[in-house]
Structure formats: C-alpha cells, structure tokens
C-alpha cells in the first residue's frame, strides 16, 4: 500500500469509526471475560467454601456448579455477541471503506 492511500484511509471517517468501535468493543469484551474467569479462579482459590455450599437446602448440587457452567456459557455467549455485531456493523463499515478506496 502506498503512502497516499495509507494516509487517505487513516483519515477516512468510516475507518476511524470502525477502529474506534471495534477496539472499544473488543477490549470491553476481553475485560468482561477476564473478570469472569479470574473472578471465578479467585473464588476457587480464596473462597472454596462459598462454591461448595448446597444449591438449595438438602441438594447435592453446589452453588459452584451453575457458576462453573455459567463461565462456560458466558464464553460462548460473548463470542456470539462479538460475531453478531462484527458480521453486521463492522463488516458494513469495512465494505464501505474498501469500496471507497476503489473509486
């Protein structure tokens, strides 16, 4: 890519919009995942008793169970959320930038 088109795309309002939105979205979801996972690991390390409580009086299942399964489901849900937004909004912006570059 030559210097002129690098400069042009860099200042393209759609490119600025795309990178700003994607960067913010990507890092937000990363932070959410890290908080969920390390929150869980810290519970395991420092409060195993909390996770070991029965889910309800007399239950064999513990609170840790839905929490653990919840971490797995949250990983799937977060990636799904990213794909949903990226396939729509981000791909549309990308197309507009690429097509704008060809004119």
């Amino acid at each position: 890519m030559d210097v002129a088109s690098v400069d042009r795309i860099r200042r393209h309002p759609k490119f600025i919009e795309l990178t700003r939105k994607r960067t913010r979205f990507g890092w937000t979801l990363t932070a959410v995942m890290l908080v969920i996972y390390y929150g869980y690991i810290l519970l395991v390390a420092f409060a195993p008793g909390f996770l070991g409580q029965p889910l309800y009086a007399g239950a064999a299942a513990t609170i840790g169970l839905p929490i653990g399964v919840g971490v797995i489901l949250s990983a799937i849900a977060l990636t799904g959320l990213y794909v949903a937004r990226a396939n729509g909004q981000f791909d549309r912006l990308t197309r507009e930038i690429v097509e704008g570059g060809r004119q």
Binding site: M1, V6, I9, R10, F15, L18, T19, R22, F25, G26, W27, L29, T30, M33, L34, I36, Y37, Y38, Y40, I41, L42, V44, A45, F46, P48, L51, G52, A59, A60, A61, T62, G64, L65, G68, V69, V71, I72, L73, A75, I76, L78, T79, G80, Y82, V83, A86, N87, D91, T94, I97, V98, G101
Partner: protein, 555 residues
C-alpha cells in the same frame, strides 16, 4: 479368522509381559474384552480407510504451496470451527478430563474452564487481525513489519519447541492408550500413528489434515454426546439425582461436588490459568488454522463455532465423569482386585461407554480415541513442517527467493523427518513421566509465541530487537522454571526438593517476556526500529480492513 481372534489377545499378553501393572490389569478382565478389542480394531480400520480415501481426494487438489499449507484458504468458518475443536479436543482432554472429574469431581470443571476461556480472547483481539495479516504461519504476522530473519528464527524455534513437547505427549499417550484398548504393542502403536500421520500430511497437506480433524471432531462429539445422554437418560434427565447418587457412592462423598485439592494455592491457580488462556493463543497448529479460511469474517465464525463445540464438549465430559462415578465405580466388572479402575482412571470414559452402550459403543469410543490422536498429531506435524519449510528454509535460508515446488518438497521432507522423530521420541519416552509436557507446551506458547505475536499486531512501538529479546527470554524462562519445578525436578529427575516451587511458570515467564519486549523496544534507537514503527500504519489498516489480502493469496 477365528485363529486371528484367539491369537490377538495372546500376542497382546506376550507384548504386555513387561508393561506396568495397570496395563496388565486390562487383560485380566472378563473375556468379553477380547471380543470388544476386535470391534474397536475394525472400526478403527474403517476410519483409517475412509481418511486415506480423503487423503487421496485431497492429494489431487493439493498442488500449490497455498493449497499444501492452508488448503488454499478454502475452508468455511463452520468447518474450520469444527477442525479447531478437533485440534483442541485431544484424547488427553477427553480421557484426561473425564478421569479428573471421575476422581476429583468438581475440580475437573475448573480445569476444563481454563482450557476454554482463551478462545473468547483470541476472538476479540486476534482472529480477524491474524487472518488479515498472515498467509501460512504466525511468523508471517510477526514479521510483517519487522526483520524477516531474526523473527522467523524465533518463531520457528517457538513453534518447534511447542510442537515437540506436544507431540511427545500425544505419542506416548497414543502408545499407552492403544496398548490398553486394542491390546497392541506400544511400539507398533506408536509406529502406526507416526506412519499414518506422515501419509495424511505429505500427500493430503492441510486439506486432508482438516478433514481428518473434522471427521474426528464429529465422531468424538457424537460418541461423547451419546454417552452423556445415556447417563442422563438413566437418571430420567434429573441432574440432581445423578449428583445425589454420585455423592452417595463416591469415596469422597460430598467433597466431590466442591473445589478440592487441584488448586493448591492462588499463585499456582493464576499461573495455570494464564498458561491455559494465553497459551491457546500461541499454539502454532491452532494459529495456522486461521489461514485456512477466506477472510476475517470466516475467521471470526471459526472461533465462535470452535468455542461452542469445545464448551459443549467440556459439559459432556463433566457428565461423563459423574456417570462413571455412578455406573462404573460401582460395578466390579470394571475394577481390579484393589477396587481401582482397570487400566487406571483414564479409562473412566471408556468403561462408561461399555456400561451404557455395550461392546459396540466401547469399540466405537476406542476407535475414536485412536482417531483423535492421529488427527491431533497430523495437525501438529503440519505446523512444525511449515515452520521448517516456510519460515526457516524459504524465508531465512533462501531469503524468500525459492520456487514453490521446492518449498513444498522441503515441507514434505520435514514432515517425514518430524514423523520419524515423533516415533523415536514416543519410544524413548515410553517409561517417562510425561504429565508435565502439555502444561509445558502451553507455558512456552504463552511466553515465547504469544507476546511477540500480540504486540506486533497491537503495539506500534514493537521493534525487531524487542520481539526477539522478549520471545527468547519467555522461551528460556518457561523451560528453565519448568525444569526446576516439582513436576520435573522432583518427579522426573528425582531430587528431593524443587528449586522453583510452582508447576506452572507462566505467571513469571509471560510478564517477563512482555516487559523485556517493551523495554528493549523503547530503548531501541536503530534505523530498523524507526522503519518498523513507520510501517505500522499500513499494517494497521490491513489488519483492520483486510485491504491487500486478496493480492497476497495465491490460487
């Protein structure tokens, strides 16, 4: 035919004369076991024939370098997601995690969660950029604006080290598992795995490897689903009833439902978590899969499907582990005289298959376990061979001036060499304690491959020197700390006390790699450093939009 049937267990008995006690125990089981071996072997033969057919089909479609390395970027996001899940769901994770749940209950879930959570991070920060910047290896991405030679050498070193440790773990697992399941001699098992993997990769390249991976993923998910649903069916789909029964029959009783001894201290827990999470993002055979799809959109879909399948798979292994507690540990048919599982805890899922589906399902699951190892080693070997041919030979040794056919030939020679090396290492490590190897592979991936890769994509300031110093320090620190850790220093080398107290080094080696990469880059005032920073803009635009990718893809 009948003669063969009776000869088989006999041969196995002879072969096992010198085997460890747990393996011999497998042959002391009831006579139905011999018949089931036959079912397993014929199913495995079916799998091998079918996949060789696919290899033949793929070989006709594998002409160019791009086709050999990355199937010409023709794999769809859904297919690639299945193949990634196939790469990730090794026999070790299927048998190992269900065994962990069987013996420790809830702890198995903690462990499997660690393996899953790296995927969302790969999605949010890496998948699209990888696809937009790379062609065949992750070194393409790191060296996009940095100096070719040092970066390629560093990446190839990281790739080959990770591949070597991962391969040893897979080969030794394969030998022991197959001896147990099929009654086949360890050495033969290792040779069969090595030879088949060489055939898949040299003839069929990435296309064959991908389809072997997909088929195996479907078979494994199907088999594991069937077992898990059979367990749930036995309890009227009432999970609480399953857990109550498990608490009743388990020797640990209620402790089986709580976090236990797996996570000894917070430092180990966090360090292991880091290695699993960011190691995934530095595994060369996984990263290479992102170059098999057409564009960033398909790369993204790949991760979503992979995360879904892997997450679903871990839920299944959890149910399977508890199913084994209830249905296997209570059945004397599966226990030896001491009340231990025949063949060891790793056989929990296999025995459970027999308990819920009889010898047919047992045979199927055994064959799938074998197929799983084959598919994983094929993917690893292809990644290793590509590092040799594309990064070392074509880019470093020939400075990029090389014709395609020669590069493919080098790649095939490297595949054969790696295959033979894997067989030899598999035989050499037969009696060794290799429990640490996958952990070490993840720690190296997180410390040597991941920091330069992610910094090169996200941080303008990264220079060649920074990447090389950071990656090298990460690699050396991870290996040295691992050698000094209890897992190797005490359990393998036999010293009384470890010099480094933790089994997981990533908490120390990974931040060190990042810090060194940052410090050296900031202090780097060379001309090459200024050039690398100048080129960041163009790389940034391509990584965000994919502009320029089309011209780089050969057909």
């Amino acid at each position: 035919m009948r003669r063969f049937l009776t000869a088989l267990p006999m041969a196995a008995l002879l072969a096992l004369a010198a085997a460890p006690a747990w393996a011999v125990g497998a042959l002391e089981g009831p006579s139905v076991k011999q018949a089931t071996n036959w079912v397993a072997i014929s199913m495995f033969f079916g799998f091998v024939l079918f996949t060789l057919g696919i290899t033949y089909w793929a070989a006709k479609r594998t002409r160019s370098r791009a086709q050999f390395y990355t199937a010409g970027a023709s794999i769809t996001g859904f297919q690639n997601g299945l193949a990634i899940a196939g790469d990730y769901m090794s026999a070790a994770s299927f048998l190992g995690i269900s065994a962990l749940v069987y013996s420790s209950g809830y702890d198995g879930l903690i462990y499997s969660i660690g393996f899953l959570v790296g995927w969302p991070i790969i999605m949010f920060l890496m998948a699209e950029r990888l696809r937009n910047l790379g062609r065949f290896t992750f070194a393409d991405v790191v060296s996009y604006r940095l100096s070719q030679t040092p970066i390629r050498v560093l990446s190839a070193a990281g790739t080959l080290t990770v591949v070597a440790f991962y391969l040893i773990a897979q080969m030794v697992g394969a030998g022991q598992l197959i001896r147990l399941l099929f009654g086949l001699d360890y050495v033969y098992a290792v040779i069969i795995v090595g030879v088949l993997m060489i055939v898949y990769v040299t003839f069929g390249g990435m296309l064959a490897t991908t389809w072997v991976q997909i088929i195996k993923a479907v078979l494994l998910l199907g088999g594991a689903s069937f077992i898990a649903f059979s367990v749930l069916y036995a309890f009227g789909f009432n999970v609480e009833a399953l857990f109550e029964k498990a608490v009743e029959v388990s020797p640990k009783h209620a402790a089986i439902m709580k976090p236990g001894t797996l996570v000894k201290d917070p430092v180990s827990a966090i360090s292991l978590g880091l290695a699993l999470m960011f190691g995934t993002a530095g595994l060369p055979h996984i990263l290479m899969r992102f170059f098999t799809v057409a564009d960033a959109r398909e790369a993204r879909k790949s991760v979503f499907w992979a995360t879904s399948f892997i997450g679903y798979f871990y839920l299944l292994t959890f149910i399977i582990g508890f199913g084994a507690i209830v249905l296997v540990s209570t059945n004397p048919q599966y226990l030896d005289a001491k009340g231990v599982l025949i063949g060891g805890n790793n056989m929990a899922a296999v025995h459970l298959a027999d308990a819920v589906g009889g010898s047919l399902l047992l045979g199927f699951i055994s064959a799938v376990a074998f197929a799983t190892i084959l598919a994983v080693v094929a993917g690893l070997t292809l990644a290793g061979a590509t590092a040799v041919s594309h990064d070392l030979y074509a880019s470093v040794f020939r400075r990029g001036r090389v014709n395609e056919r020669l590069e493919i030939r080098v790649s095939k020679v490297a595949t054969v060499a790696l295959g033979i090396l894997a067989i030899l290492l598999g035989i050499a490590f037969e009696k060794q304690n290799i429990a640490f190897m996958v952990g070490l592979a993840f720690a190296i991936a997180a410390s040597a491959n991941f920091p330069p890769l992610i910094l090169s994509m996200l941080w303008r300031g990264l220079t060649t020197r920074g990447a090389v110093v950071g990656g090298t320090l990460g690699l050396v620190t991870a290996v040295v700390l691992m050698v000094l850790s209890p897992a190797i220093w005490v359990k393998v080398l036999g010293y009384p006390t470890p010099i480094f107290p933790y089994d997981a080094p990533a908490l120390f080696s990974m931040p060190l790699a990042f810090f060194a990469a940052w410090l050296v880059s900031v202090l780097d005032r060379s001309e090459s450093a200024r050039g690398a920073k100048r080129q960041f803009e163009a790389q940034y635009i391509r990584s965000q939009t994919g502009i320029g990718v089309a011209e780089a893809v050969e057909h």
